[in-house]
């Protein structure tokens, strides 16, 4: 249980990154599957080469944001569809990650890592959970602050109304690249910390990660709301923890760990389909607002789905 909380809080950093692209920029970014592993690989290889683990984790941020920059350039300057741009970078990164690690995995046994250093103070228990919660909270506060700055406002407007913000002299291309860099930087950091937590970096550790991120954001915002940025980022962190606890619970009742990816996919599909179901929209109508789940999932459904939903609401 402690491990689930710890992992949830580490993955929360990744979920904040996914929130930035998926919710703020309205851009489902698949780069994260690759940049997560890149961050882990970079940090692991640096740590085994006696680099300070904090510095190695910071390097993971840089490598992650470079990956984000490539996706951003492909999408904005190359006019490649956003989903495809992310997939291209993700696939390319697979080879790069193998190069970074010079193999399929890098063990960190016996090395000083940020996690082993933390354990030196806290051991394994609620104190270590509290420390990781504080770390996740710091990332949240930095993001809250950034999204209130002039640049952060321009980023939010880019995701909200591109036509409007370019008429106020903002380069939406530039803002998208900035957003993708920040997002993948955070994902890289999360990858680095996860590698240090589990004691190795592995080429497969990022596979399907985008679903974990999306599930955290959608579930978190559906349960805890997303009225303001401050509330939304908190919801994302809690969502990541809830998701990890749900996985832990499923494993405890005897689910085969090999089925985990299928579980994540089914969870996200359910989150996307539920709001379109007529009975569900009746339920949310009764609460006199569009359902938070529908809102959280909105960027991932096609506009037709919204239409059918609105007409369903009218019919009800």
């Amino acid at each position: 249980m402690i491990t689930a909380f710890e992992l949830g809080l580490i993955y929360a950093i990744m979920a904040l990154g996914v929130y930035l692209t998926f919710r703020i920029l309205n851009f489902p970014d698949l780069t994260v599957d690759g940049s997560f592993t890149s961050g882990a690989a970079t940090a692991a290889i640096l740590i085994t080469n006696e680099v300070d683990p904090f510095l190695a984790t910071a390097a993971a941020f840089v490598v992650g944001s470079l990956a984000g920059m490539i996706t951003g350039l492909l999408h904005t300057k190359g006019n490649i569809n956003g989903l495809l741009a992310g997939i291209l970078t993700m696939i390319g990164l697979y080879s790069i990650n193998l190069r970074i690690m010079d193999g399929a995995n890098v063990p960190l046994l016996g090395q000083d890592t940020v996690i082993s250093m933390m354990r030196g103070f806290t051991g394994v228990g609620w104190t270590s959970v509290a420390v990781l919660a504080a770390v996740a909270l710091i990332f949240k506060l930095i993001m809250d602050w950034y999204l209130q700055t002039d640049n952060g406002l321009a980023l939010r407007a880019t995701g909200d109304n591109e036509q409007m913000i370019s008429s106020f002299a903002v380069s939406t291309d530039r803002q998208k690249i900035i957003g993708l860099m920040l997002s993948n930087g955070l994902v890289g950091v999360a990858g680095a910390v996860v590698a240090q937590h589990q004691g190795f970096a592995d080429i497969g550790m990022g596979i399907g990660l985008i679903l974990v991120g999306l599930a955290s954001v959608i579930v978190g915002q559906a349960i805890f709301g997303s009225r303001s940025v401050i509330q939304a980022t908190l919801a994302v962190i809690l969502g990541a923890v809830v998701y990890r606890l749900a996985i832990q619970l499923a494993l405890n009742v005897g689910l085969n760990p090999n089925d985990m990816k299928l579980m994540s996919a089914v969870l996200v599909v359910a989150a996307l389909l539920l709001p379109q179901w007529k009975g569900f929209s009746k339920l949310s109508l009764r609460r006199k607002s569009s359902s938070p789940l529908a809102e959280a999932a909105a960027p991932l459904t096609t506009s037709d789905a919204h239409l059918s939903k609105t007409s369903a609401e009218k019919g009800a």
């Binding site: 209130q148 002039d150 321009a154 939010r156 109304n161 036509q163 913000i165 002299a169």
Partner: protein
């Protein structure tokens, strides 16, 4: 100060759908000119505005602003000096951002957007002061998300935002057409007062002939990509909508649509 020099634009060239939206258009606006643009559908009014804004790039000709050729600049680069209000009231504001955040975005037009706080106490007071002019009570709802406002309120806010940081040129693209008569009246009134107060050089496309005659100090009529009538302040003051309709009548093949007649 705004010079449109021999500008042409053809859509879908060399196809059956070829459409010459602008044909060798020449137009010069002096500092403080307020020009209304009328014409039937497809006359090239919106293309003209989009060419000035940089959303559409002309095939030939030069657009220059304050003596500088801006033809190659992208939309967001020109926007440092060009303010716009769109026909769609939803287009000019960011719905998920609050009123004060939207105004803060407008406030930074043409200046670098760094990591200083977007909305400060001092700015908030300035925004509230500016919102009072709209007489919509928005100054008390600074933290309300813009998406919750009505179309008329959003369009009034769009106008305030587009003019907030004193652009060199203001482009209005049928910005009252999607509003009910009362709201359209309000936005027209606000437009006149803000353009007058700030002495903005303005290009306003409208379908409404009465509005085109009442507002501004110059009127141009477009047809099939050309400017076919250019009327100065004195002559414009004497004209009636009937005179304009008569001008339309002279055109071979020009169809005055119902919407125009009804107004």
């Amino acid at each position: 100060m705004l010079n449109i020099d021999s500008v042409s634009k053809t859509f879908f060239p060399h196809t059956v759908n070829e459409r010459r939206a602008l044909v060798n258009v020449n137009l010069e606006l002096k500092e403080g000119d307020f020009v209304t643009v009328i014409g039937s559908n497809g006359a090239g009014k919106s293309t003209l505005l989009n060419t000035v804004a940089g959303r559409i790039h002309q095939d030939t000709g030069v657009v220059s602003l304050d003596g500088t050729d801006v033809s190659r600049l992208k939309e967001h680069q020109r926007a440092a000096k060009v303010g716009r209000v769109f026909q769609d009231p939803m287009a000019g504001t960011a719905p998920n951002l609050s009123i004060e955040e939207n105004l803060s975005l407008a406030d930074r037009r043409g200046r670098p957007r760094g990591l200083s706080r977007g909305v400060t106490k001092a700015k908030r007071d300035r925004f509230a002061e500016a919102l009072k002019q709209l007489e919509l009570g928005l100054e008390g709802r600074l933290k309300t998300k813009v998406g919750l406002l009505s179309g008329g309120q959003r369009q009034a806010l769009s106008l305030l935002m587009a003019t907030y940081s004193d652009p060199r040129v203001l482009l209005l693209d049928e910005h009252t057409a999607a509003l009910d008569p009362q709201r359209a009246e309000l936005v027209t009134r606000l437009t006149r007062s803000v353009v007058e107060d700030k002495g903005l050089t303005t290009l306003m496309v409208t379908h409404n002939m009465v509005q085109a005659l009442e507002v501004g100090n110059r009127l141009i009529m477009m047809h099939e990509g050309r400017i076919i009538l250019d009327v100065g302040a004195e002559q414009k003051a004497q004209m009636t909508p009937q005179d304009l309709l008569a001008e339309f009548g002279k055109l071979k093949g020009a169809v005055v649509d119902d919407k125009t007649l009804l107004q």
